[in-house]
Structures are given as structure tokens and as C-alpha cells.
């Protein structure tokens, strides 16, 4: 029982990592109806920026918020300069642009910061939290907390603010939104900026656990993608829940069912089975289109 709970808790901890990145993916999707494959690399790059600031002596929280701000601007700029010109192109062409962004950021990070792993500090206390015989690192708990706070903020933003409403409208129907006076371009840039900011937070929460290196996000992105989809690509809450689900599922499969070698494949197969039963994900909205 003990070992089982250990696995569950370890799964929740990694699940927290997936949840935060999945949130960034959902953010972009809610704004643009596109899955941004470069999300992980932009998050990683922002984390490197934070690391540079902290390494130069800046206190953690100042560097943290400054990085979030820079990431916001970076995201908005990318939307304006790189994504806007191909907006009208077929979906797959935009996907290729995202792939291009992915390799650019990855390569730049490797060139500017080398591939040796770097330690990224955690703002949370070093002493672990013990619940019975189970070990929780304070950082992992803190990171999950930050993710939940972000989730609450996002929910409130989309639900209760006019700006959030405008963004949702643009994602649903850009043409009509333009007709009622919403500045579509501005909303898109805002959406990208927010997604990049969330990604930066995710990166800074993840890095202390997995160490900072240019390939930090590539493994995580896959899980985050799966998590976002299983929870429902247009539901932030679903994405977070999906993240935890995927984390725990992966651990339990690895420990008790199929062994570590095939646990990733198995987890993905299970997710696909879920999608076959509920094609929009667990909490996603079912889209009905008129013929």
C-alpha cells in the first residue's frame, strides 16, 4: 500500500508539471484554435532568460515577474511578426511555421547557453513535507499551488472580464467579432502573450525539478499535449486535471502493469481509447456543426 501511494504521489508531482504546460497549450488553443508546438521551447527559452537574470544577481521574485513580462511581450511580438503573415494560410502551413519556431528556439538556446545542465533555484523552502512516510518536496507542492492559482486567474479572466469575453469571441468567430467592433488582431496578440507568460511560469516551476537544459521541454510537451487533449482542449480545468491524470497513470502503469519500457506507449494508447469513447476529451465541449 505504501509503495502504491508513493507512486501515486510521485505521479501527482510529475502531473503538476504536465498540467502547467498543458495550461499554456490550452490558452493558445482557446485564442487561436491552433496547437502551438513551439510552446515548450518558448517556455524553456524564457526560463533561460530568468536564469541569466538570477545568475547576474537579481533576486528571485523580481527576476520571476520580469521574465513573465518579457515572455508576454515576446509572445505578442511572435504573433504580430511571425504568425500574422501566415494567418490566412492553410492550417498545416501554420503548423510548419510553429515547427520552424520550435527548432529556432531550441537551437538558439543550445548555442547561447550550451547543453550542460544548469541548476534553477526554487523559491520554496528546501525542507520536504512529510505526510506519514511519504515525501513531498516543498517545491513540488508549491509548483502545483502556483498552477492552481494560475488556473483560477485564467478562469476568472475568461468568465468575468470583458477582455476575456472578447478573446473567446474571437476564437469562436473572428469575422463576427470584427463586426461588433472587437480588435481581432489585438486579441490574438494578447492571447499569444498570455500563453507565453503562462509557459514562462510553467518553465520556471518545472526547471528546479528537471534541471535546465535546452531539451528540457521536449519530453514534457508530449505529455502536456496528451493531457490537454484528454481533459478537453478547450477546457483549462480539464487540462490541469488531465495533467495529473496522465502523471499518475504513467507511474502506475510503469510500476505495476507494463514496466518502464513500454509505459509511455501504453499510456498513450489508453488516452486514445478515452478519446474514442469521448472524442472531445473528458471535459471538452462537444461541437455541433450545422451542415
Amino acid at each position: 500500500m505504501d509503495a502504491f501511494l508513493n507512486q501515486v504521489f510521485a505521479g501527482l508531482a510529475t502531473g503538476g508539471i504536465y498540467a502547467s504546460v498543458a495550461l499554456a497549450l490550452v490558452m493558445i488553443y482557446q485564442t487561436t484554435h491552433l496547437v502551438n508546438f513551439a510552446q515548450g521551447e518558448i517556455a524553456m527559452f524564457s526560463t533561460y532568460l530568468a536564469w541569466t537574470l538570477i545568475d547576474a544577481g537579481m533576486p528571485y521574485w523580481i527576476a520571476f515577474f520580469l521574465t513573465v513580462g518579457i515572455a508576454f511581450v515576446l509572445g505578442a511580438l511572435i504573433e504580430r511578426i511571425i504568425v500574422r503573415p501566415v494567418e490566412q494560410a492553410p492550417v498545416l502551413s501554420v503548423v510548419v511555421v510553429f515547427i520552424g519556431l520550435l527548432v529556432i528556439f531550441n537551437s538558439l538556446a543550445g548555442w547561447m547557453f550550451t547543453y550542460t545542465i544548469k541548476v534553477f533555484p526554487s523559491p520554496f523552502p528546501k525542507e520536504p513535507v512529510h505526510v506519514g512516510t511519504h515525501f513531498f518536496s516543498s517545491h513540488e507542492l508549491g509548483a502545483v499551488g502556483v498552477t492552481l492559482v494560475l488556473l483560477a486567474l485564467l478562469y476568472a479572466f475568461f468568465r468575468f472580464t470583458p477582455l476575456g469575453l472578447a478573446m473567446r469571441a474571437v476564437a469562436q468567430n473572428a469575422e463576427s467579432s470584427r463586426l461588433v467592433g472587437i480588435r481581432v488582431g489585438r486579441m490574438l496578440a494578447l492571447g499569444w502573450g498570455l500563453a507565453a507568460a503562462i509557459g514562462a511560469v510553467a518553465g520556471m516551476m518545472v526547471a528546479p525539478t528537471v534541471y535546465l537544459d535546452p531539451n528540457m521541454m521536449s519530453g514534457i510537451l508530449l505529455y502536456a499535449f496528451a493531457a490537454a487533449l484528454v481533459g478537453g482542449i478547450d477546457s483549462p480545468g480539464g487540462a490541469v486535471l488531465g495533467g495529473f491524470l496522465v502523471g499518475v497513470l504513467e507511474n502506475l502503469l510503469g510500476a505495476y502493469v507494463i514496466g518502464n519500457e513500454l509505459k509511455l506507449s501504453f499510456a498513450l494508447v489508453l488516452i486514445i481509447v478515452v478519446l474514442l469513447v469521448r472524442p472531445s476529451g473528458l471535459f471538452g465541449k462537444i461541437h455541433v456543426t450545422r451542415v
Binding site: 494560410a89 502551413s93 515547427i99 529556432i104 519500457e261 506507449s265
Partner: protein, 341 residues
């Protein structure tokens, strides 16, 4: 008609020369490609063989994604299956190399069809994830203990290089090039026939207006699964040929990066276009090398810039851009003919 007014032609008359380029250009290219191995060194011949292999794989993916609208981020898996079928047959069963290629095709046809069946329920992003899962799992499956005795596990399988038959005066690289070229031509002709006929039209109809297509009597489920199967068959054949050319298969050769590269290839080359497969193959084979020459420090950043640049200039891919340019030329020619007539 009032005297003195110009007659209005509704469509420019199809003059003889505007029809012929369609046949002339591929024939000329074929002739040129036959001559190439004799003017290049073996290394370049080897690279061209790889371009042909990619072209077959890209045509396969294009059938599924370009013509039928089903996105696949996992076609590297079918490429891997084809490659391993060829390797295992040659290494463990002593099957001659030329026989492994059709066997790989058949195996992948079945595999693709079987995958396509459950995939029917999934659309868009969700299908992307399912295929992504396939692409990511393949190296793991290949490495796993359970299949190790067949696949050689992480060590992979080394394949012997085939010799030219009947004592032809060619070296191994040149022979392999011609063999691959022959298979490529056969596959392209097959694909062209398939796509310009009823099957092609059904696939495109399903892509654009699935409900209307069903209402018109197109059996959506059957065609979609078949599209998966045929697409996988093409990619499997390419995988087998690729394995023979490289003479080595290992799980590391078939990571998710391969699947993404194939997707990039068809988009850059041009979706729903047969010639696009060739342009895309040239791009994915040579542009990374070019990027490496431009910048040793961050070559993949240069590659990314190329990707984005191509998408700006040619959102419909190279084939799309050529089509547009050709249409423009024809329009200008028709206008001048009209003016002078």
C-alpha cells in the same frame, strides 16, 4: 455583334503547346534522372537515392493528409515498420532484397488499414495526437525486450548491400539508385492513376465536405481507412528502400523527428500534389545540409528560418507556387493572344 468590336472568347483555345508540357516535363525529368548517376560521384548518387525514398514516403503521406485531410504526425512509424520488415527478412530469412520491398508494402498496407479503423472516430487535433502517439511509441516498441530477438533491440540490424544483377557494369550505388528509381516511377504512376480517378475525387470530397460526400454515396469509412492503408503502404515501401540504401536499421533511426520531417516535407512540397512529393523530398534531404554550411553554431535555427520563409513566400508549398506561376503565365499568354486576335 456590332462591327468593329472584338470577339469575346470565353476560354482561351487549348492550343497544342499548352497541353504538352504536362507530359513533356516528367518525361524529360525521367531521362535526366537516368543520366545523373553517371555524372556524379557515388556520394551524390546515394543522396539522390535518399531523395527518391523520401519522395515515395511523402507521396504516401500526401495521399492521406493532402488529398484526404487526415493529419498524421506518426508516419515515421510506418516507415520504420517497412524498414524493419526488409531488414528482418534479409537478415534472418535470407530473402533477396527486391522481394522485401513488396512484402514491406503489403505489411504496411494491413497495418495502416488497421490503424485507420479506430482512427475514424478522431478528427483534427485528436487524430494528430493519436498518430503522434504512434510515432512516439515506435522506437520504444522496437527496443523492447519482447521483440528483441527479432529486431536486434537497441543494437539494430546491419544489412548487406545488394550487387547489381546479371553482371551489369554498374557499381552498387548506381544499381541501388536505378532500382529505387524504378520502384519510385511505378509508385508514382500508380498514385497518379489512383488520384485522378474516382478514388481521388472521393478522397478529396471526404476532405472538403464529408457530410455531403456521404450523402452522395461515398462510403466515408471505407475510403478513409483505405486511405490510411494505401498511405502506409507507400511509406512502408519507402522505409524498405531506405533501409537497403543505408544498410542499417536501429530504433534511433525512426524517432518522432522523422514523422515531423515527413509532415514538413509534404507541406513545403505542396499538399494534394504529386510533384509536391519530389520538391518536399529535395527540401528535407538537402536543406539541413545547407543550413549546416551556413551556420555551424546554430544550424537548426537556420533550418527553422527556411521553414518560416518558405511558408511566407509559398503558403501552398512549392507545387502550389509553381501552379500559380504557371496559371499566371498562361493567362498572360491568353491575354496577348486575345489582344492580337
Amino acid at each position: 455583334m456590332k462591327p468593329g468590336s472584338k470577339p469575346v472568347a470565353l476560354t482561351p483555345p487549348a492550343s497544342a503547346w499548352s497541353r504538352q508540357p504536362r507530359m513533356l516535363i516528367p518525361a524529360a525529368l525521367l531521362l535526366a534522372s537516368c543520366a545523373l548517376p553517371f555524372v556524379m560521384n557515388n556520394y551524390h548518387t546515394f543522396q539522390l537515392t535518399l531523395v527518391l525514398v523520401y519522395a515515395i514516403a511523402l507521396l504516401g503521406l500526401n495521399i492521406l493528409t493532402g488529398y484526404n485531410g487526415q493529419i498524421s504526425l506518426g508516419h515515421g512509424a510506418f516507415y520504420a515498420i517497412g524498414a524493419y520488415v526488409a531488414a528482418i527478412l534479409m537478415d534472418k530469412f535470407g530473402v533477396p532484397y527486391w522481394l522485401t520491398v513488396p512484402v514491406a508494402g503489403v505489411v504496411c498496407l494491413a497495418a495502416g488499414f488497421l490503424f485507420g479503423l479506430p482512427a475514424l472516430r478522431l478528427e483534427g487535433v485528436y487524430l494528430a495526437l493519436a498518430t503522434f502517439a504512434l510515432g512516439v511509441s515506435m522506437p520504444q516498441l522496437l527496443k523492447s525486450r519482447h521483440l528483441e530477438s527479432w529486431t536486434g533491440g537497441v543494437q539494430g540490424i546491419v544489412i548487406a548491400k545488394p550487387d547489381p544483377p546479371f553482371g551489369l557494369p554498374l557499381n552498387q550505388d548506381q544499381w541501388l539508385y536505378f532500382f529505387t528509381l524504378a520502384v519510385a516511377v511505378a509508385m508514382f504512376v500508380l498514385g497518379w492513376n489512383l488520384l485522378r480517378g474516382r478514388v481521388g475525387r472521393s478522397l478529396i470530397a471526404i476532405r472538403d465536405q464529408p457530410i455531403a460526400a456521404e450523402a452522395m454515396g461515398v462510403h466515408n469509412a471505407l475510403y478513409k481507412s483505405l486511405a490510411f492503408g494505401v498511405s502506409a503502404m507507400y511509406t512502408g515501401v519507402a522505409g524498405a528502400l531506405g533501409a537497403i540504401a543505408v544498410q542499417f536499421v536501429a530504433p534511433d533511426s525512426f524517432t518522432i523527428f522523422l514523422s515531423i520531417t515527413l509532415l514538413v516535407g509534404i507541406v513545403i512540397g505542396g499538399l494534394a500534389s504529386i510533384s509536391g512529393a519530389v520538391y518536399g523530398a529535395i527540401f528535407i534531404q538537402f536543406v539541413p545540409n545547407i543550413a549546416d554550411q551556413i551556420s555551424k553554431a546554430a544550424p537548426w535555427a537556420i533550418y527553422g528560418v527556411f521553414l518560416i520563409g518558405f511558408m511566407y513566400l509559398m503558403p501552398a508549398g512549392v507545387a502550389g507556387a509553381i501552379r500559380l506561376a504557371w496559371a499566371r503565365i498562361r493567362r498572360m499568354a491568353a491575354d496577348t493572344r486575345q489582344d492580337s486576335g
